[in-house]
């Protein structure tokens, strides 16, 4: 027994090293985006507050640009709204006309599936393999996990962890996250992921051979994940090739959103998400 203690004492540095290294490597391996301990997460109070204070100093310089971008987006949305009203109520665009009210109510009930809010980005990175964004709204402001995050109508990420006042968002630039996306022109869908190399390009996989693909085709969200509405822009196809020995294209997609310059993001909540998830879980349990 005495010898054992002497042995442990003699090699205590090596033992400590092996112990701590095992601990940290097991953290790396078992780490899961959806069930993480909130402690190891930048949505916690100390890191969140620090990031918020610091980012508010530096983002002052960016707000002019952000305002211009938002004004542009408003103009586009207003035009789209006009067009939509004209289309759904041919012959009139006066929503106040009582005859057309039921129809508009019906339309807006579809729109009311998604609820939109905004938040400010207080921390962001593009230089790692697994990038996350921290935003300055949390449970207190009605943010929930699985809400979609967009910027200027383009897909940015998904809310993963929520604390009282902050949330972390898994960025599209995170090689551990995939979303479904489709080619707008012909509606063929595949899965979109990032290979961790270039922060301006992501990869669209699982598009079969026979589908006509062109450089410049727009890639949009599918709405299958229920976190995003269908048809949000993701990017354009910049390059594609046929992988050796596979039946699918290798497609490079140039991102529309500038991930290095995110200041204000929009949060999308699908009010029917719980209902959809419940329904889908019946299929999973019942097979």
């Amino acid at each position: 027994m005495k010898n054992l203690f002497r042995l442990i004492y003699r090699y205590h540095v090596v033992l400590l090293f092996v112990l701590l290294e095992t601990l940290s490597l097991s953290m790396v391996v078992t780490y899961n985006n959806y069930q993480r301990a909130t402690f190891f997460d930048s949505s916690n109070f100390i890191t969140g507050t620090l990031f918020e204070k610091f980012s508010s100093i530096f983002q002052i310089f960016q707000f002019k640009q952000v305002n211009i971008k938002m004004a542009e987006e408003n103009a586009i949305l207003r035009a789209a709204l006009q067009e939509h009203l004209l289309k759904s109520n041919p012959g009139t665009y006066h929503a106040s006309d009582s005859i057309y009210l039921p129809r508009i109510a019906k339309d807006s009930s579809i729109r009311a599936v998604y609820r939109f809010t905004t938040a400010r980005v207080i921390n962001n990175s593009v230089n790692q393999q697994h990038n996350f964004i921290t935003i300055n709204k949390g449970r207190h402001d009605g943010v929930k996990p699985d809400m979609g995050v967009i910027a200027n109508g383009q897909v940015v990420g998904l809310v993963t962890n929520v604390s009282e006042n902050f949330s972390t968002v898994i960025s599209l630039l995170n090689s551990r996250w995939k979303i479904s996306a489709k080619i707008k022109r012909n509606d063929y869908f595949g899965s979109l992921s990032w290979d961790g190399k270039d922060y301006r390009r992501v990869q669209l996989n699982e598009i079969p051979y026979h589908v006509p693909v062109q450089n410049g085709d727009t890639v949009v969200s599918t709405g299958y994940s229920s976190s995003f509405p269908e048809g949000l822009t993701i990017g354009t196809i910049s390059d594609f090739s046929i992988g050796t020995g596979s039946n699918f294209y290798k497609i490079e997609v140039m991102l529309a959103a500038d991930f290095k310059n995110l200041v204000v993001v929009g949060l999308v909540e699908n009010k029917q998400l719980n209902e959809i998830k419940q329904l889908e879980s019946i299929n999973k349990n019942g097979n």
Binding site: S24, V28, F40, F54, H130, K197
Partner: protein, 168 residues
């Protein structure tokens, strides 16, 4: 003793803050990102007990991990750096200097020695960090290029810091 303790606590806080608030946002040519914070491990006194060195390196890594949402990645890389540091020191300097001088500083050990020492530790740290982060040997040449270029930038920043903020 107490002054020393406060001094190293300050170095710890300043290197972590500089890393998470400034250097984590740096990305040059879409591949170079510096990891400046291991300055803390580099600057620790020569007579730091090895077990303490491991604990300090581990907590440094874990602190940065919390800010970057990468539990374990920086912690394991720092731990390895802390484990190897005494060996590196014995390799590049004589026993007598390690006994007579208190801490690895430019003014104590000379400019050339400091660059060599910092490069050694930075390379070990970056090599481990980038591969743990990628968790694959796929695209080896690209990751290797990232490691080498990022290490160059980190060493430059660490050496510069010796002349600007951490002068004492």
């Amino acid at each position: 003793m107490v002054i020393n303790l406060l001094k190293y606590a300050l170095v710890f806080i300043v290197s972590v803050l500089l890393q998470v608030l400034i250097f984590n946002n740096v990305l040059i040519a879409r591949m170079i990102s510096p990891f400046f914070y291991i300055l803390f491990i580099i600057l620790l006194p020569f007579d730091t007990p090895r077990a303490l060195l491991l604990f300090l390196a581990f907590s440094l890594g874990l602190t940065v991990d919390i800010f970057t949402n990468t539990p374990g990645v920086h912690a394991s890389a720092c731990l390895l750096t802390g484990f190897i540091r005494p060996g590196v020191l014995q390799l590049i300097s004589s026993h007598e200097t390690l006994e007579s001088v208190s801490a690895p500083r430019v003014e104590n050990m000379g400019f050339q020695w400091f660059i060599g020492y910092a490069t050694f530790l930075v390379l070990i740290h970056h090599f481990f960090l980038f591969f743990i982060e990628a968790f694959t040997f796929q695209g080896f040449p690209f990751i290797l290029l990232r490691i080498i270029l990022s290490s160059v930038l980190s060493v430059v920043l660490i050496v510069l810091s010796q002349f600007i903020i951490f002068r004492k």
